[in-house]
């Protein structure tokens, strides 16, 4: 069972890494903002799985904090884009 949990955690993390690679590339600013969302779901799933596999105490507490902070970071990103000159911020890679 432990091996299965590790495998599942590794798989979910790999999916998150792939998604992150796609999202950070853009092209629009809205894509990049999704990074925190992605970690807020996939990152938490990987964390809970790995904690169940190794028996780290209080992993659920870390997951709770991550959930709050991922939402907080997303809101901050959205706020960071507002302003009249965000056309400038959408260009780039």
């Amino acid at each position: 069972m432990t091996e299965f949990l590790f495998a599942a955690a590794g798989f979910v993390l790999a999916m998150v890494a792939l998604g992150l690679a796609r999202i950070l590339r853009g092209p629009t600013i809205a894509d990049r903002i999704m990074a925190a969302q992605l970690l807020g779901t996939g990152g938490i799933a990987a964390l809970l799985l790995i904690a169940a596999a190794t028996g780290v105490p209080a992993a659920a507490d870390v997951a709770l904090s991550l959930a709050l902070l991922a939402a907080f970071a997303s809101v901050a990103f959205v706020q960071g884009t507002s302003g009249p000159d965000d056309s400038e911020a959408t260009q780039g890679r």
């Binding site: 792939l18 999202i23 809205a30 992605l38 996939g42 799933a45 799985l49 965000d86 959408t90």
Partner: protein, 97 residues
Amino acid sequence: MSLALDIFSVLAISAGAFFFLAGTVGLLRFPDALTRLHALTKADNLGLGLVVLGLLPRADGALGALKLVVVWVLVLVAAGTVSQLIARVAQRVGPSP
């Protein structure tokens, strides 16, 4: 009983992992930000829910199980609201070039 629970865990977590796969495929394949957002928020939250469901039998006590469920509910509520905000940004900056 423990074997049945283990099978339940394996099934639920595997299903969850499948939805993460689906979400990532969506992210990689969909053409613009709004559809990618759709793939991310729907599939990944379902995936997390299934992973939490699979881990419930292994949680330590009722409090641990409750915390896991709270994590999921919190992520769900936050994702629902934040995706609204992100979608507005996506609309404002227009479709990708």
